[in-house]
């Protein structure tokens, strides 16, 4: 991005003033190099978001921001229903409630290293991953409705996990306000055989070693110490969420035209929060969140079984589960008063600061764990939400490294099999059926996750707690 268009506010804050139809400015949090590396479309898309009715304060871009559709990936925007605010299907995206769940294993790196190949093979055998993979749980319409209402709680009631898993899951595992009756037959059909599957693209299950601790107190609260091994699962609401997105993007696009709302981009498709379409979308989207929570819960159960089959007696517990494609109704302080806002985070992680009532007692002093997935074969991070972020970005932070190169370009530069060999030589076992998919996810196709995390930390959006290094990656 051409930085001469922006006003620099500080080391990691840039502003694009409101012009034309923009109701608020764009605020980008990133160091200079990351901003220069962003596509011009990030600025265009964030400016388009700033034109939407009822937007409050600013259209924000996180340090891993990149060119998406409608909203930029890494885009955060809050809307006030009392000011005609909207909810946007394009602002959540197709992969509703895509997120990361991190599990502690209680195992040390040395123990894992001795059986790493066996662990990788068994995870690959038991975790359904990649296009066309089928889960072990098949749902009829009645069971589907119960799952869409109950989320991870539904999964646990059916034996996929233990109640303690819910304590450290966003929304305690069950998103309130889900309306399964607004989820189409087509969306249900796409999900029938997909419960407990990872999906493809950038979705993965990774076994990781805690390589560094940056904040002892928060690490203790999160139960992390150097050389311990964790498992991170990155996936979302699968075919069901994709179809909810498809259904409502279309309906909202046509509805906006009827209402005479000129959208700068069709993918900004939105409807007033207080409207029939808006309310139906929120009900369906919350059902999609429950689908993602149930999906990650089933995958947790499968991963736990595999770990115990290799290391008998291993105690696998949930560190946290947080989504990065959602719209959530939250209380925030605006101009000294408290308002209920609908916060869209598209490729941005909720990062609630200490003291927030949404957090469980055990995490209320440290702040919410923010799980940041790196690119395959590099590193991931655990951060903690800050009080400052509540004012800076509605309590939001980065979600990953962020792509710096198209999939197209990545497949021209790298070959999947060579990458798997190279990473294996560095001690990282990759398991995947999709070799072109591996090339598309090559570490070099992503920004430097460390630079993204540093910018997030310096900007005050979240603070560094632990750096994780991959040992095994089952790639979707």
């Amino acid at each position: 991005m051409d930085v001469s268009r922006l006003t620099r506010i500080g080391d990691t804050e840039w502003r694009l003033e409101a012009t034309g139809a923009m109701r608020v400015p764009v605020v980008i949090y990133a160091g200079e190099e990351l901003v220069r590396d962003m596509d011009e479309m990030v600025g265009t898309q964030a400016s388009n978001v700033a034109t939407l009715p009822g937007i409050v304060r600013a259209s924000y871009v996180m340090p891993d921001g990149h060119w998406g559709y409608g909203f930029p990936i890494g885009g955060v925007a809050a809307f006030d229903p009392e000011q005609g605010g909207v909810v946007s299907a394009g602002g959540v995206g197709f992969d509703i409630s895509c997120g990361v769940r991190c599990l502690r294993t209680g195992l040390g790196t040395e123990r894992i290293q001795k059986k790493k190949t066996d662990l990788a093979d068994r995870l690959f055998e038991h975790i359904p991953a990649g296009v066309g993979s089928v889960g072990r749980v098949h749902l009829n319409d009645e069971a589907m409705t119960a799952m869409l209402r109950g989320g991870a709680c539904w999964a646990i009631e059916r034996g996929y996990g233990v109640p303690a898993d819910l304590e450290h899951t966003e929304e305690r595992g069950c998103m309130a306000g889900a309306r399964p009756e607004h989820v189409s037959h087509r969306a249900r059909a796409r999900q029938r055989d997909e419960m407990g599957t990872l999906g493809s693209g950038n979705h993965y299950l990774e076994v990781q070693r805690v390589a560094e601790i940056h904040d002892d107190r928060a690490a203790a609260a999160f139960g992390l110490s150097v050389d311990e091994v964790v498992i991170s699962i990155h996936c979302g609401s699968r075919g069901l969420g994709h179809q909810i997105g498809t259904d409502f993007l279309r309906e909202m696009t046509l509805d906006a035209a009827h209402r005479g709302l000129a959208l700068a981009d069709r993918d900004l498709a939105c409807a007033p929060i207080r409207s029939d379409v808006g309310e139906r979308y929120l009900g369906a989207m919350r059902a999609g969140i429950n689908c993602a929570l149930a999906n990650r819960q089933i995958l947790t159960h499968l991963a736990r079984d595999v770990v115990r089959s290799v290391f008998s007696g291993a105690d696998v517990s949930v560190l946290y589960d947080v989504s990065h494609n959602t719209c959530k109704e939250e209380e925030h302080v605006v101009d000294g008063g408290t308002r209920r806002l609908f916060v869209h985070r598209k490729g941005a992680t909720r990062a609630l600061g200490p003291g927030r009532p949404e957090l469980p007692e055990t995490l209320r002093d440290a702040g919410q764990p923010v799980l940041v997935g790196g690119s395959m074969g590099t590193e991931s991070w655990v951060l903690a939400g800050t009080t400052d972020a509540m004012g800076l970005s509605w309590g939001s932070a980065c979600h990953g490294a962020g792509r710096r190169m198209s999939r197209h370009e990545a497949t021209r530069r790298w070959r999947g099999r060579e990458l798997v060999r190279e990473l294996s030589a560095r001690g990282i076992e990759i398991r995947s059926r999709a070799m072109r998919g591996v090339a598309e996810e090559a570490p070099g196709a992503y920004k430097d996750v460390r630079a993204v995390v540093e910018a997030t930390h310096r900007a005050g959006l979240a603070r560094k707690v632990a750096r994780l290094e991959p040992l095994v990656c089952v790639k979707g």
Binding site: Y69, G70, V131, D267, S406
Partner: protein
């Protein structure tokens, strides 16, 4: 299936699919083949099963999005891949006959799963003596 060609084009996070052909229908056919090529080589898909897709939209661009989304949904809900299509467009209505088969993990070696079709870089237009139909697919 009419003449034309299927192409992929780069996008920041996802993938662009483009069809070119002498008629708008053939451009749509090629765009759908480009979508298949994101998943597997269309030449390796055997035409075992036939199904019909029908859509109607207020304009041609939305018609392309709707048609491509129908294909994505069929691929996902019925675990199909498609290698042959015949598209007829009259005004803002589309009728397509598509041939394909259930995905075979060994033979098709599917790479990436399309989630949905966006309106980013969306274009249906005549360029010289050919039609072009393109959009970006979230994968």
């Amino acid at each position: 299936m009419g003449a034309g060609r299927a192409e992929l084009f780069p996008h920041g996070a996802d993938v662009g699919v483009r069809g070119r052909g002498p008629t708008v229908g053939s451009a749509f056919e090629q765009a759908a083949l480009a979508l298949t090529s994101v998943v597997t080589d269309p030449a390796g898909v055997v035409s075992r099963e036939r199904s019909v897709v029908e859509c109607e939209a207020p304009d041609r661009e939305q018609l392309l999005v709707d048609f491509m989304n129908e294909i994505v949904s069929e691929m996902s809900a019925r675990r199909m891949v498609f290698g042959e299509l015949e598209v007829t467009i009259e005004g803002n209505r589309l009728r397509a006959t598509v041939w394909g088969e259930p995905v075979d993990l060994e033979r098709h070696a599917p790479e990436v799963e399309p989630k949905g079709v966006t309106s980013t870089e969306l274009r249906v237009a005549r360029e010289g003596d050919e039609w072009i139909a393109q959009c970006v697919v979230d994968v």
